[in-house]
């Protein structure tokens, strides 16, 4: 097995082992064992850096369903490697942090199992070359995110946030799936690499733009882009390590990864450039605008994440212009934006991860994250304060921190884009740097709020639950490592640039050379530097007079937010579907049978008539022996008698007569497998019936009106007639070629003389496998319906 395939499966295997071993561990926190998983994986991926940075790529394939073009193909290039290193690296730090953050009363095995599930799924997303495999992993990240947000499921807000994130991201995921299928229709392959190499000839195809927008829908919902950003703030109900990991460093970057991965497919078109850039810029502005007004530190960080994701997104949009110009000077100029995007992607993970951990420490040590109750903590938490300053100043784009470098590059890119001589950027292009600058001012303001409102000002011990002290050493290790990275990257940015970002750039903009710059902190007094200085000055003034201009937020009325729209939509959806459902779900069994048989008669009988398959020919039939006639008469009598009996027991027994007679027919027609199955099924069903009757109230003959009886009789007779006609015309109507000859070779192909089982277990094994699953789900369903009732468990939950 290839090492990279193992890398994806390893977290899943580890997650499966957790329930088996966690009880045997005693007092040892299971997190210490789990910590090994991302750490080993990080080692594996770090080991690939030299090869990838010299321009190699790694591919491996497991054949899954080759007949449908679905294979478990792994492809590692520079872009995937960056994401893989982020997933495993941040994973290590976050798990280390969570060991100290979570209390022992939380269900740790669940937490770590979900987290590992997420890690494996996320690695699957960034390493898959096959679109359908990517989609499966994509949805798996949504599901594990759902489970982690609802980790404290007794809280109402947690459940609300989890549902919201699931609904929005899965909605986008479905759109993306449709986009993938369109790509497959166009190019005939699910492999991303093959699509990239052949898409050039399909740019005039009618499905090209629908596919593009659907793929973008998936990316925008996942990466919380405007107007789908509303799920991210509510996702903050998750434990802080989860927020740091999923909702800032990794999962929300999946959408950005998708945009980067598909830039070679759709990039270079005007639609892609403007959609990605504008959605990114609007998100950037709106996120930072909303962040300033937040009073909960985590909500503030959530909006700031939305805003920063918008920044990265818009950079990928601007960078796609390079593909319009192709290799050359212009390509290199606009390609810089993509380089900046990749750079900021890494930087954002470091500073936002650190900030989330800082907020987690404050929450953990003080008992609140409300900035109205915080203040003056610098004296109590000096180490945490240092990390907060490093993280915030990096996010604000101040020098000495890595955020400064990528922020300057962002300004360069936006100024370049303003003068873009294509995509009719001449008229509106100037808006790009303006929005970029305005949003950056607001970013500066909320970064100052994080630092100054929490750590400066007056300490208010009366408003706090606990006396603040520094957390245990282990909790400080992860933010410390991230802070060192933030400062380290500023001083040696080219180490990162040359070994990781440059190869990744080749993956996003293939064929564009010379776009990767030599990163330097100082390039003289140019426009970008003046923009930064302007941000500091204006931002400081805005922060100082926040109280005065904060009234701006009151302009938008309460009911006009996207959140209200979402809530209203959900409410009316529930109401209307309830109304619709209660119209036909009467709780009365005969009604349901009428629907089922009515549909069957119309669909099956209608097909029979319309396709002209109805043809009955008795001429080639073998003569019917007398014992078969007797058996048929017995069955008919039993069936008719069921209608008139007055007790349940008798009707069940008569039903049994029917079943066993069918089994005898199977014997007569030499189908021993069917006969055996029928016999045992009949026995089990009878036992089940008898058990159920034990609990039913006494049987009363129902008083049905004459009309109802006639209607039921018509449906019954028509149903029986349809089945009979189908059975009689089966032999005559050969609409398709027979497939039975394939199965005749069962002994050579499957080594079994029993052709029935060779079909069930081998030729049509896929059906059997899924039937097993359906059976299992049915069993669990019956169990939960009967056994689990609203007991103590549910009463603890908030409604």
């Amino acid at each position: 097995m290839h090492l990279l395939i193992f890398a994806i499966l390893f977290p899943f295997l580890a997650a499966a082992l957790i329930p088996l071993i966690h009880r045997r561990l005693g007092p040892l926190n299971i997190g210490w064992l789990v910590l090994a998983v991302p750490f080993i994986l990080f080692g594996i991926f770090a080991w690939q850096i030299p090869g990838i940075s010299s321009g190699d790529t790694i591919a491996a394939t497991l054949h899954w369903i080759p007949s449908l073009g679905i294979n478990f193909s792994i492809y590692l290039d520079g872009l995937s490697l960056i994401l893989a290193l982020l997933i495993t690296g941040m994973g290590t730090l976050v798990i280390l942090y969570s060991i100290y953050y979570l209390s022992p009363t939380d269900s740790l095995p669940h937490f770590y199992a979900y987290l590992l599930l997420f890690m494996g799924a996320m690695l699957g997303v960034v390493l898959s070359d096959n679109l359908l495999v990517l989609y499966v992993f994509w949805e798996l990240t949504s599901i594990s995110s759902f489970l982690l947000i609802a980790f404290w499921f007794h809280r109402k807000n947690s459940r609300y946030g989890a549902q919201k994130s699931l609904l929005i991201t899965v909605f986008g995921g479905f759109g993306m799936l449709a986009g993938f299928l369109m790509l497959h229709t166009m190019t005939g392959t699910f492999s991303v690499r093959e699509i990239v190499s052949t898409i050039g000839q399909y740019s005039d195809h009618g499905l090209f733009y629908p596919a593009m927008f659907l793929v973008l829908l998936g990316a925008f919902t996942k990466s919380a882009q405007f107007p789908f950003h509303i799920w991210l703030p509510d996702a903050m109900e998750a434990p802080t390590p989860v927020s740091a990991y999923l909702h800032s460093a990794t999962m929300v970057k999946a959408g950005i990864y998708l945009v980067a991965r598909f830039t070679p497919v759709f990039g270079g078109t005007s639609a892609w450039f403007w959609t990605v850039t504008l959605v990114g810029l609007v998100t950037l502005f709106w996120g930072s605008f909303c962040a300033v007004r937040q009073t909960d530190l985590k909500a503030l960080l959530a909006y700031s994440t939305v805003s920063q994701l918008g920044l990265i997104m818009s950079l990928f949009g601007m960078g796609s212009a390079a593909l319009h110009f192709g290799d050359g000077e212009a390509g290199a100029v606009y390609g810089l934006a993509t380089f900046a995007a990749l750079f900021h992607l890494v930087n954002h993970s470091t500073f936002k991860g650190a900030l989330f951990m800082v907020v987690g420490i404050v929450d953990h040590q003080v008992g609140t994250r409300d900035i109205r109750r915080l203040g003056g903590l610098m004296a109590f938490l000096p180490i945490t304060f240092t990390f907060a300053v490093i993280g915030s100043f990096s996010m604000a784009g101040l020098p000495l921190f890595n955020g400064f470098l990528s922020k300057e590059m962002f300004f360069t890119a936006s100024l370049n884009a303003a003068g873009l001589p294509a995509f009719s950027a001449e008229t509106w292009g100037w808006l790009i740097p303006v929005i970029a600058w305005t949003a950056s001012v607001l970013t500066f303001v909320y970064c100052m709020i994080i630092v100054f409102r929490t750590f400066f000002g007056k300490h208010q011990p009366k408003k706090l639950d606990k006396k603040p002290v520094e957390p245990p050493f282990g909790m400080l290790v992860s933010p410390a490592i991230l802070s060192i990275l933030i400062v380290g990257v500023f001083f040696v940015p080219n180490l990162l640039g040359d070994h990781l970002l440059r190869p990744a750039l080749n993956g996003v903009l293939p064929g564009i050379t010379g776009a990767a710059p030599h990163i330097s902190a100082w390039h003289g007094f140019n426009t970008e530097l003046w923009m930064t200085i302007g941000i500091i000055v204006v931002g400081f003034l805005l922060y100082k007079y926040l109280r005065i201009w904060k009234k701006v937020y009151a302009i938008i009325p309460e009911g006009w937010t996207f959140n209200a729209l979402y809530n209203k939509f959900l409410e009316s959806l529930e109401e209307n579907s309830n109304r619709l459902t209660s119209k036909y779900m009467t709780g009365y069994l005969p009604h349901y049978f009428a629907y089922i048989f009515g549909f069957f008669i119309l669909a099956a009988g209608g097909t029979l008539l319309l396709t002209g398959a109805l043809s009955i020919d008795f001429s080639t039939d073998t003569p019917i022996p007398s014992y078969e006639v007797i058996l048929a008469v017995v069955m008919a009598i039993a069936a008719i008698a069921i209608l008139f009996v007055k007790s349940r027991l008798t009707s069940v027994l008569l039903n049994g007569v029917l079943g066993y007679s069918i089994a005898i027919f199977f014997v007569l027609f030499r189908a021993p497998d069917l006969a055996l199955t029928q016999l045992v099924i009949e026995t089990v069903t009878t036992a089940l019936f008898l058990l159920c009757f034990y609990f039913l109230p006494e049987w009363k003959p129902e008083a049905a009106s004459k009309n109802l009886k006639i209607r039921n009789a018509v449906i019954a007779v028509a149903g029986g007639l349809t089945v009979t006609l189908i059975a009689l015309s089966v032999r005559a109507g050969n609409l398709y070629d027979s497939i039975s000859s394939y199965y005749e070779n069962a002994y050579e192909l499957a080594g079994g003389k029993n052709i029935v089982n060779a079909i069930l277990g081998d030729f049509r094994g896929f059906d059997t496998m899924l039937e097993t699953l359906v059976l299992f789900i049915a069993g669990i369903g019956v169990y939960t319906l009967i056994r689990i009732k609203g007991g103590k468990e549910t009463r603890k939950n908030e409604d």
């Binding site: 899954w64 199955t677 045992v680 036992a687 499957a750 089982n757 277990g761 081998d762 299992f776 056994r787």
Partner: protein, 140 residues
């Protein structure tokens, strides 16, 4: 549901053994003769159901301390994982193979990977059928 019936109990004790043997026979013979995972599992399940009907569930649970929910889960897991296994040997999902081996006592015997898959099916059927019947019968 408690029944105190000496004849039923005595007959069941012998009957269960016969049914269980028959179920295992059906399961193993399924490759070349009538039988197989589904029907084998179903027959085994009826043996357990007969036990639950004859004796009260406490006694049966003491005698066979399995959680039938877990057995059905194990079955699904086995069916899926045995299907995925060929992928790691360079074959497509759900590829099955067979071979003839000389075993002591049995002589020349055919061993097929489909047996693993079929045991998954059988375990699921046993688990689900027993689980449904006991859930319904024990409902208060």
């Amino acid at each position: 549901m408690k029944i105190n019936d000496v004849i039923l109990k005595t007959v069941s004790q012998a009957g269960v053994l016969i049914i269980l043997t028959f179920g295992v026979y059906l399961f193993l013979s399924g490759h070349n003769q009538p039988g197989g995972g589904f029907i084998g599992g179903l027959v085994l399940a009826t043996a357990f159901v007969l036990m639950f009907l004859t004796f009260d569930s406490e006694t049966v649970n003491k005698a066979i301390p399995f959680d039938f929910k877990k057995i059905s889960a194990l079955g699904v897991l086995l069916a899926f994982s045995s299907s995925a296994l060929p992928m790691f040997f360079g074959q497509p999902f759900m590829s099955q193979t067979f071979g003839y081996f000389d075993l002591p006592i049995f002589g020349k015997t055919e061993l097929a990977t489909v047996t693993l898959f079929e045991s998954g099916v059988a375990l699921t059927v046993i688990g689900v059928v027993v689980n449904i019947i006991t859930s319904i019968s024990e409902d208060e």
